[in-house]
């Protein structure tokens, strides 16, 4: 989920940067030195995980996983996602410096939102926890897609159709990410619950 460079207008790029600077600032502030290695390593793991393509019908989509990132890292999702996106730009030229702010905001805002909305539910009954995990994966992609569409539309009102196609193209991804998040969180809950929020310290 990223917007290439050269698509968005100046004000939208600036707004994206402003959000990202604030988000990364909060994330870094909350990130004590005990968790730097952990956050760096998780950013690396998410970067690698996003290389995985999962099939949907005849096509493939690559995973976004911002829901999982949010649940595991809280506000540290901002610096972690910014880092992973910068690496994606360097390795694959997905985006560049000018779009880094907007792209980080598109993925990290929903991640943090997912953290606040759904993390508290993960410690409830298995059914509620599973529902929350699915909803988190689904919502994080949905919000991301809406932000992406919004960024396009605000750049130029004539991008409306492009924006709506971009958003609707993410609908199957939302469902897949819902399931992936559901199973992934279920896995972590069994195998290493201390990675999930509320088990250790706050974000």
């Amino acid at each position: 989920m990223h917007i290439a460079e050269g698509v968005l207008s100046g004000p939208v790029l600036a707004a994206g940067f402003a959000i990202t600077v604030v988000g990364v600032g909060i994330g870094l502030k909350k990130l004590d030195f005990e968790h730097i290695a952990e956050t760096g390593m998780m950013a690396a793991a998410f970067f690698v995980a996003s290389l995985v393509h999962v099939p949907i019908g005849p096509a493939n989509v690559h995973l976004i996983l911002n829901g999982v990132v949010g649940l595991l890292l809280g506000w540290a999702a901002f610096p972690a996602i910014a880092t992973a996106l910068l690496l994606q730009a360097v390795f694959f030229q997905f985006g560049g410096f000018t779009s880094l702010g907007v792209n980080t905001a598109i993925m990290a805002l929903p991640a943090v939102a997912g953290y606040y909305l759904f993390a508290p539910l993960l410690n409830k009954s298995p059914k509620i926890a599973a529902g929350a995990a699915f909803a988190c994966g689904f919502t994080a992609v949905m919000l991301g897609a809406l932000l992406l569409g919004g960024a396009l539309f605000l750049s130029d009102e004539n991008f409306l159709e492009v924006a709506s196609i971009a958003v609707s193209a993410h609908i199957p991804v939302m469902i897949i990410e819902g399931f992936i998040t559901l199973f992934c969180i279920g896995f972590l809950k069994k195998v290493r619950p201390e990675m999930l929020p509320g088990k250790e310290n706050s974000p």
Binding site: L8, E38, G96, V162, I165, F179, F183, F187
Partner: protein, 257 residues
């Protein structure tokens, strides 16, 4: 396999310090991002192509990277000319193509392509470690730089682990498909990747403690810019200023449209 395709290129570009290259990309891509005038964007693409050839990059590899944009650009060209409000130039049955739509699609194509090429030529040809230190000397917070360095260090290792797990799945006859079983398998596989990452992070943190880490990070790199660097930055700045003046119609070049 994760590869840094353009990193080992030897050329004039490699003689510039990472600091120079990073700053040059920040300046030039900001100017291009804010430009809309075709008489600015066409020369921009020309300059970008010139850079690519100076850098001596493999054109096939570069083309492959441009293909990344093709899906998006195709969508732009299939939609924008028909939906953009403006003066109609063609009418094909119920579809009408607007002059502004064509212009917008052209503009977008020029911008994305030239920006991708500039980034590719100046940034993707250096190691991310160099980029991290360059960003540090451009006042990016040390904590973020340290994060970037650690992440870069371990992506190769984790990618290796991913490939091994995927092989293990393959050996047990796993075949991806649009099924819940497939999604569950991928989710568990990734979960395992995260668990291993977290366990390694714990050991890495311990290793950092053993070496006296207390949260402060000191970058060792210093960039000794030479006249080549200043010359290059001066050139980039002059072009940037000319483009900006042109964009604001302070000066005009012969327009093509």
């Amino acid at each position: 396999m994760l590869q840094e395709t353009f990193i080992s290129q030897k050329s004039l570009i490699q003689n510039l310090t990472p600091w120079t290259r990073t700053l040059a990309v920040i300046i030039s891509s900001t100017v291009i991002a804010l430009s809309n005038n075709l008489s600015v964007l066409l020369p921009a693409l020309g300059t970008a192509l010139l850079l690519v050839s100076v850098a001596g990059l493999d054109f096939r590899q570069v083309g492959r990277r441009l293909l990344v944009l093709s899906g998006f650009l195709l969508m732009i060209w299939l939609i924008l000319p028909f939906t953009y409000q403006g003066q109609i130039v063609w009418r094909i049955s119920f579809l009408s193509v607007s002059h502004e739509g064509l212009l917008a699609a052209t503009r977008l194509t020029l911008k994305t392509c030239s920006m991708l090429l500039i980034f590719l030529t100046l940034i993707s040809t250096m190691s991310t470690a160099d980029l991290a230190h360059a960003l540090h000397s451009l006042k990016i917070p040390a904590k973020l730089v340290l994060l970037l360095l650690i992440t870069y260090r371990y992506i190769f290792l984790i990618e290796d682990e991913l490939q091994t797990l995927l092989r293990a799945a393959k050996v047990r006859n796993f075949k991806p498909g649009t099924t819940l079983h497939c999604y569950r398998t991928y989710a568990y596989l990734l979960g395992m990747l995260f668990v291993r990452a977290a366990e390694r992070a714990q050991r890495v943190h311990q290793a950092m403690l053993c070496r006296g880490f207390n949260g402060r990070f000191h970058s060792l790199r210093e960039y000794h810019n030479r006249s080549l660097d200043y010359g290059f930055l001066a050139l980039v700045s002059i072009i940037a200023v000319l483009m900006t003046l042109c964009e604001w119609k302070v000066i005009t070049l012969p327009t093509l449209f």
